[in-house]
Assembly symmetry: C2
Homo-oligomer: 248 residues x 2
């Protein structure tokens, strides 16, 4: 039964197989078509795409590295449950990294960048009411633009991996997703950068990234079987203070 949820499109036999398997599986997991806790096997996936087990295995290894699969030797491979701590940790790391990126950008505001960002804000507003699913794509584009502008492409590669954990939650929370609010926060970031206010840019990013997972507790309450709460209840999100001392 599992095959139907994964093999939506056929593979291109001309290009390398492993990356294709990887991409399809990753998408299926993040969008929760493969539910947390599901068992999958090399053989099963290989048959469903009519390839050998080898490229499937290598895709599994990559996904296990991202924390999306757990490969248990001689026992099986399962889609990991969403780890509450990992999600909060990913959020913490993104905040630390992107806050510094915003500070760099605010140091030397680039008019061309501001223009580009404001265009993106318009697009975000356009989909806000109609298609919240599309917002996730635009949101990714926004944050990526910031990283690229700061010449921190390497940082984005890291953030991408962190996002996978967070996005699983976001795809669960669609529907009741405060898109309008988030767009407003994006605007605050752009404003602060434009004005060259490093500390305002810093604070705006931190506020924004703390809001993104605001409904995590509700989602957890609604679908507890998707989550893997470590030991002893829901962890308290601990963060560095937004308002630091006199200097940063």
């Amino acid at each position: 039964m599992t095959e139907n949820r994964i093999t939506s499109a056929a593979l291109d036999p001309a290009s390398p197989i492993t990356p294709q398997i990887y991409a399809h599986l990753r998408d299926a997991i993040i969008r929760n078509r493969l539910a947390p806790g599901d068992r999958i096997s090399e053989t099963e996936i290989a048959k469903s795409w009519s390839v050998s087990r080898q490229p499937v295995r290598e895709a599994f290894i990559r996904l296990a590295g991202e924390g999306l699969l757990a490969v248990l030797p001689q026992r099986g491979t399962i889609v990991t449950r969403i780890n509450y701590s990992d999600v909060l940790n990913a959020r913490f790391l993104r905040e630390a990294i992107e806050a510094d990126i915003a500070k760099i950008l605010a140091q030397r505001p680039d008019p061309a960048l501001i223009t580009e960002l404001r265009a993106q804000l318009q697009a975000q507003e356009a989909v806000a009411a109609s298609a919240p699913t599309d917002f996730i794509g635009l949101d990714e584009q926004f944050h990526r633009t910031l990283a690229d502008a700061a010449d921190k492409r390497g940082a984005w590669r890291l953030i991408e991996g962190l996002k996978s954990q967070m996005d699983r939650v976001r795809f669960l929370s669609l529907g009741h997703f405060p898109v309008v609010k988030l767009v407003g926060q994006h605007r605050a970031i752009v404003d602060a950068i434009e004005q060259g206010d490093t500390s305002a840019a810093n604070a705006a990013v931190r506020t924004h990234l703390r809001e993104v997972l605001i409904d995590l507790p509700q989602i957890h309450a609604a679908k507890p079987e998707f989550f893997d709460v470590p030991e002893g209840g829901i962890p308290e999100p601990v963060n560095a203070p937004i308002q630091g001392g006199k200097d940063e």
Copy 2:
């Protein structure tokens, strides 16, 4: 000839082979026993350890993910040169993450942690004059202790990957390595945490991590063949300001 530089110890056939190969190769690359630019092949490595290509291949994939190897399909696999930008990027990311960690720790100074850190400082001073190579291990322990204390074990996993790029440089620069100075900076971090001064802790970490690669230009000048300078000269390190605005 390459085998001699890698197969120093035998493998344990009882435990999984892939992780062993991975660990050995990673160590060989970071310590520059495998020099940047060296070509290696799955077959060659497999023969040198008397295993099949398969586990070697999987180790290669992991190392390529960390940016230590470049696998060129149907052409070969080479040890990547040290990418100047990647090193600076890794440093930037560590600064952002560890600065936030220090802030968290300074919010609630833990006496037991302070005691532990001060003991580590003593050990660091002990090796400072005698064995600078050992310092790298103690340094790793120090930074890891900070991450763990802030309940950010996930963050450390990320930092470990970043460190691999930076450590390649550090193993080149041994000898003229300002260990005493770095220990002093460690002490400043501990002091700031103990006093609960979040902004001082923040600043101390940032200062420290900017110092670590202070001699990168000289190392690059000494061994240019180990480096891969992107396009157009040495990139200027761009960083967020240590002294931010009135708030952080």
